[in-house]
């Protein structure tokens, strides 16, 4: 049986800095997952990813990552790997957690 599609965001790494980025509704790449577009529909997600792939000079290696709406109605990561990607490493206060 095909797995049920779960909501996704499109995420990638910035070409210049390597920093984690997300695709927002307006087609911009943003650094904060809370501003990312959340796709409930599989086809929509796949075509948005294909479109994201065409911004190839902005980022490296876009993919779909599970996300869910939080209490404020904004996307939150689901898997722990994606949680770390929204923050940075846990051994130093570096990366996103320090920049925001």
């Amino acid at each position: 049986m095909p797995r049920k599609f779960t909501p996704k965001v499109i995420t990638s790494n910035d070409l210049l800095e390597g920093d984690v980025i997300y695709l927002a509704r307006d087609g911009e790449w943003v650094r904060d997952i809370r501003r990312a577009a959340l796709y409930d529909d599989e086809n929509e997600a796949i075509s948005a990813l294909a479109c994201a792939d065409s911004h190839r000079h902005r980022h490296v290696g876009a993919y779909l990552a599970d996300a869910a709406l939080n209490d404020e109605g904004l996307p939150d990561p689901v898997h722990f790997r994606e949680v770390f990607r929204t923050r940075g490493p846990t051994n130093y206060f570096h990366g996103k957690q320090a920049d925001s």
Partner: protein, 558 residues
């Protein structure tokens, strides 16, 4: 130490200039990532979880103070003020920006360093015993051999596109500190019946998803046959190694699938052909290499201050007991500088610490620095007369942790704090273990033990050869840690056995406590190490300690 020749220099500079052009073309859009990725990887530039990562080769882990200072400068100017020393005796910078990388590579070239062949399916940085030239048990310094292999393998046209990456380690001592049995090729210096030094050649070792201990391809290989023999191995592998499946492409799988005897025969046949046309190594070249590794002039100096501190300063004594190793020369010691201060990230050094190490090496220790695969720094030749000064200067920058070989001296790969391939974190696990056993003041009592942690099956943290190995996995979206027991990376190499079901992150420390308690209760006396005790008793009592509530293991009490 060996200096790059003009050829090396030009080669490295040309590569940097090429890469500068490639980065520009990536940035202006003329190269796609698909086109650019293999080019950046050829220059050691990876993309990790949060940023790019630059892996810089440190040939056989040997550095001088000038190079160490340059690494410190790079970390400060283009990174976040620290570097990570790895199990392959390399250094990694975790936060470089793409635009800056060509400048970083130029800065490396200024001190004869580069990041070439630190990635990709080629012969990687050759590693060696970090006590080379200083060890008491050494037959001969392995570094001239490692240097010869470095020169031979750098940009070798035939071996740039192997089925998979290829790692060579060399040791000149019977006590194997270079984990030669877990490398694609391991070279162990031995003597023949006439006392002449040569190599025992091991092939097909490796960790990763299919861990294997290398087999003896040749019990004795004369030194001057080394290059044709290694070429023969590489040739056989290059032609017959699998290219259809990345996970089956290492030479260990070829050896395993083809059979040891057949592989040995093929290598010997190829070796004969190559030997027939091998002109021999240019004696001038070998002489130059040998000369650059000549030992410094050792001098006898009074050690009164050192002796005095041993009796008056307990902290100094503890450090000296734990971190110093006998040197081939009386009045000298090998100093292991621990990069494992309690709670620190294993293998990390700040720019200030790197500069302090450089200054100490220059002032007291013949300007020689080594990186060990255990992620510590070695000062190979330190006179006891200078030891108090070395200690004081290390202490001033937080580098005087007295824990070499103890439970807090852990190897840990970057894991999911940095690595995009990781399935779980390893650094916090190492930090927690170090803090826990230190707080319990058990470290000294436990004594010699090797704990090694990897954040995924690729095993960069060498967990298979840890007395206690820990592998971080993703179990249904939660970090989970699998324990292996009885691994050994030395001349008595063994792959650890998987204990049983993994542990959730918060169950891991209590499980390790039970395991260690069992060892402390059951060891013969305090000279019996964890590994010796495990070998004597077998795994049953340790499994019972790990899984007290699991009838499958708990039944087997002592």
């Amino acid at each position: 130490m060996y200096r790059y020749s003009q050829f090396d220099d030009e080669f490295v500079r040309t590569r940097v200039a090429e890469f500068r052009g490639q980065v520009e073309r990536r940035l202006d859009g003329s190269l796609s990532e698909d086109e650019f990725k293999p080019l950046r990887l050829k220059n050691g530039l990876y993309l990790q979880l949060h940023a790019y990562m630059l892996r810089v080769a440190i040939p056989y882990g040997t550095l001088n103070s000038r190079q160490m200072r340059q690494l410190a400068m790079i970390a400060e100017r283009w990174d976040k003020g620290y570097g990570h020393f790895t199990t392959r005796q390399n250094i990694q910078f975790n936060w470089p920006k793409l635009r800056d990388v060509p400048d970083i590579l130029d800065a490396l070239a200024d001190v004869s360093m580069h990041a070439i062949q630190t990635s990709g399916n080629c012969i990687r940085n050759v590693t060696a015993d970090h006590f080379a030239g200083a060890a008491c048990d050494e037959i001969e310094d392995p570094r001239p051999t490692a240097e010869l292999l470095r020169q031979w393998s750098t940009d070798h046209p035939e071996f740039q596109y192997l089925p998979r990456k290829f790692k060579i380690a060399v040791t000149g001592s019977p006590n194997d500190r270079a984990v030669t049995r877990a490398h694609d090729i391991g070279l162990r210096m031995v003597r023949d019946d006439f006392g002449k030094p040569g190599f025992e050649v091991l092939i097909g070792g490796g960790l990763g998803r299919t861990p294997m201990i290398g087999m003896v391809a040749r019990a004795f290989l004369p030194k001057d046959h080394l290059l044709p023999y290694i070429e023969a191995i590489l040739r056989v592998y290059n032609l017959a190694g699998r290219r259809d499946n990345k996970h089956k492409a290492r030479i260990k799988i070829l050896v395993h699938e083809t059979g040891r005897d057949i592989i040995r025969e093929r290598i010997e046949a190829e070796f004969k052909r190559r030997l027939a046309v091998f002109p021999g190594i240019d004696p001038q070249l070998m002489e130059d290499i040998d000369a650059s590794f000549r030992l410094p002039e050792f001098i006898d100096r009074p050690q009164d201050e050192h002796e005095g501190l041993l009796s008056s300063d307990p902290e100094y004594r503890e450090w000296a007991e734990q971190n110093l190793t006998d040197h081939r020369q009386d009045g000298y010691r090998i100093v292991t500088v621990s990069l494992k201060a309690i709670g620190a990230t294993p293998g990390d050094a700040t720019s200030d610490q790197m500069r302090a190490i450089a200054a100490i090496a220059e002032k007291y220790a013949y300007d020689e620095i080594r990186v060990s695969h255990e992620q510590n720094i070695i000062l190979p030749h330190v006179p006891l007369a200078s030891m108090p000064g070395v200690y004081a200067d290390l202490k001033a920058v937080g580098l005087a942790a007295a824990n070499i070989g103890l439970i807090s001296d852990i190897i840990a790969c970057p894991g999911m704090d940095y690595c995009s391939l990781a399935t779980a974190r390893s650094i916090p696990v190492a930090q927690d273990i170090a803090r826990e056993f230190n707080a319990l003041e058990l470290e000294k009592r436990i004594g010699h033990i090797k704990v090694k942690i990897s954040g995924c099956i690729n095993a960069c943290g060498h967990h298979h050869v840890g007395h206690i190995g820990i592998l971080g996995l993703d179990r249904a979206g939660v970090e989970n840690y699998q324990i292996t027991l009885g691994g050994d990376g030395t001349e008595t190499a063994a792959i650890g056995r998987r204990a049983g079901p993994g542990f959730a992150a918060d169950e891991l420390l209590p499980a390790l406590r039970r395991l260690i308690d069992r060892y402390l209760e059951t060891r013969l006396d305090d000279r019996e190490t964890f590994l010796a005790c495990y070998r004597r008793l077998g795994e049953a009592p340790f499994l019972a300690a790990l899984y007290p509530d699991n009838p499958r293991y708990a039944g087997e009490q002592l």
